[in-house]
């Protein structure tokens, strides 16, 4: 497996206060990797450095084998042609229609996807003739994704892509990301939605105060798979609960005691969100 992104000892300060403070990160090719972390943790600075939008103060960075800071001229253009960038708050191209916008940006790339197909893929088919400034927030983000993937990128940066989506739109968007990942696109996703990271990411990393403080698969992340589970049930109509490292044993014991089905039984492991909040809480 080859490496898509390799970062070590990355540092960036703004007016003397560090935003990124010795960050290490490796993303494999073909992987969906989620960056989590509170606002101001250094996620956006890190991503912007990887995209070549920002310079760094120290550290090594390689994105698809290229140092973003050195990506200039013709070689820089070839490198950029293999990236797709979906940033947070673009409001450009307002006076163009959806179709005009996607067609225009397709022209920048040596081997673009068909603009019509991309518009269908992101679910903007019925809005293709609409002026971009008339799109709702969620539809606008889909257009940003369309522009981000029209050049057939090997690596796609998604910065909080589903902010402002309704639940239905979010599910559809996830399907789209899964389809891109299946095609072999490497995806670096930043998000505040933990269930989104769980649904999409092969691995997640939590950034706090400019460095990676936890890294793992969504299932095993920060000891989640070995954390105590909670067993809940009712007895004579009164809810009970017990936190245990051995939920199976607890359920068997209850089953024996009730001599049959356990009323209102649920067994839950801590969600990714609970694990994340505990981690961030511990850090404070």
């Amino acid at each position: 497996m080859t490496t898509a992104i390799e970062v070590s000892g990355l540092r960036k300060s703004y007016r003397g206060s560090p935003a990124v403070d010795g960050l290490d990160l490796t993303v494999d090719e073909g992987e969906v990797f989620a960056l989590l972390g509170p606002n101001g943790a250094g996620k956006t600075s890190t991503v912007e450095i990887l995209e070549g939008h920002r310079t760094r103060d120290a550290g090594q960075v390689s994105v698809l084998g290229v140092d973003p800071q050195q990506a200039m001229g013709a070689a820089g253009r070839r490198w950029r042609a293999s990236l797709g960038i979906v940033s947070q708050d673009a409001t450009d191209a307002g006076e163009l229609t959806v179709a005009e916008t996607v067609r225009h940006f397709a022209r920048y790339y040596p081997d673009p996807r068909d603009p019509g197909d991309v518009i269908e893929l992101v679910g903007l088919g019925e809005h293709r003739g609409k002026l971009v400034r008339r799109l709702s927030g969620g539809l606008r983000r889909r257009l940003d994704v369309a522009v981000g993937i029209v050049g057939r990128p090997r690596l796609l940066f998604l910065d909080e892509p589903t902010t402002g989506f309704d639940p239905q739109a979010r599910r559809e968007f996830w399907e789209l990301i899964r389809a891109l990942a299946k095609d072999g696109t490497t995806i670096l996703l930043t998000t505040h939605y933990l269930e989104e990271a769980e649904a999409l990411a092969d691995r997640v990393a939590v950034i706090s105060a400019g460095r990676v403080v936890a890294l793992g698969t969504p299932r095993t992340f920060a000891g989640r798979d070995t954390a105590p589970s909670t067993v809940r049930w009712s007895e004579h109509g009164v809810p009970h609960q017990r936190d245990t490292d051995d939920p199976t044993g607890t359920v068997l014991e209850l089953h024996a005691r009730f001599g049959g089905p356990i009323p209102d039984l649920t067994v839950t492991r801590p969600s990714l969100e609970e694990t994340y909040l505990r981690l961030i809480g511990d850090l404070r």
Binding site: T91, G94, E95, R107, Y108, V147
Partner: protein, 264 residues
């Protein structure tokens, strides 16, 4: 094969033109405003007569200068500040397009809008104010170089102002104010210039608008009218020199101030 810088420049031009003409405020303020001012001022004060030339005919030459200054200076100051604000520059920086293609798109935009502005001025001034087009080739050559030098200088200064202004509202306010004041002290609205206080005229003479207006007067007015210019001649050499100097200064300002993204 990566697409060529030139073909991407034309793709940018296509987007710039569509965006300009679909945005009502740019069409009205940049395009229609100078024409409206010509119509209004020309109708109110235009009947006065100096040596057989009506004031409306003086005004037409001046407003052509004001119109193309608006089409280049204001269009770029506001347009590029807008491109900063709405993420256009950021998106282009992240895309595999050479920076020169972006500026090529702006060059075509400014060229088309400025030419359209001149055509519109003539279309109004010829029937309404009896302005006639010059017939000799030399006059058109003067017209052409005044136009090209004036548009280039104003464009470069517009790009520089967009970097200084930071926001598009700021850029719009600053560029409109600057151009309005310059038009007053450059003899666009008030002619002859010797009616203005000398110190104001000296300030106006430092900037391009005065020389553009003088160049267009030399093309549109009969030669004996040169006597009412401050120098008593059309001063073609000095016009070219001042506008050329502003092109160089504007270029230096652009190169030193232009940023693809805000420094944070």
């Amino acid at each position: 094969m990566m697409p060529g810088a030139l073909s991407l420049g034309f793709a940018r031009a296509d987007v710039e033109l569509r965006t300009f003409f679909r945005r009502r405020e740019t069409v009205v303020f940049t395009g229609a405003m100078p024409v409206l001012i010509l119509l209004v001022l020309g109708s109110v004060f235009g009947d006065g007569n100096t040596a057989g030339v009506t004031h409306a005919q003086f005004l037409t030459a001046g407003m052509i200068a004001g119109g193309i200054a608006s089409a280049s200076f204001i269009t770029l100051a506001v347009g590029i500040a807008n491109d900063h604000e709405n993420g256009t520059l950021r998106r282009l920086r992240g895309a595999p397009t050479p920076p020169v293609s972006y500026f090529l798109g702006k060059v075509v935009l400014v060229g088309v809008v400025s030419l359209a502005e001149v055509a519109l001025m003539f279309a109004i001034a010829m029937p309404v104010f009896d302005v006639t087009l010059p017939t000799d080739a030399a006059a058109w050559v003067t017209f052409a170089w005044t136009f090209v030098l004036g548009v280039t200088a104003c464009s470069l200064l517009g790009i520089a102002l967009s970097s200084l202004a930071r926001t598009s509202t700021g850029a719009a306010a600053m560029s409109n104010l600057i151009l309005l004041v310059l038009q007053f002290i450059s003899g666009v609205y008030v002619q002859p210039l010797r009616d203005l206080p000398g110190w104001l005229v000296h300030i106006g003479a430092l900037f391009p608008v005065k020389w553009m207006a003088q160049g267009f007067r030399s093309v549109l007015l009969p030669d004996h009218l040169a006597s009412i210019e401050l120098a008593g001649t059309w001063e073609h050499g000095r016009i070219a020199l001042v506008l050329g100097a502003w092109c160089v200064a504007g270029l230096v300002l652009c190169v030193t101030t232009f940023r693809w993204r805000d420094a944070r």
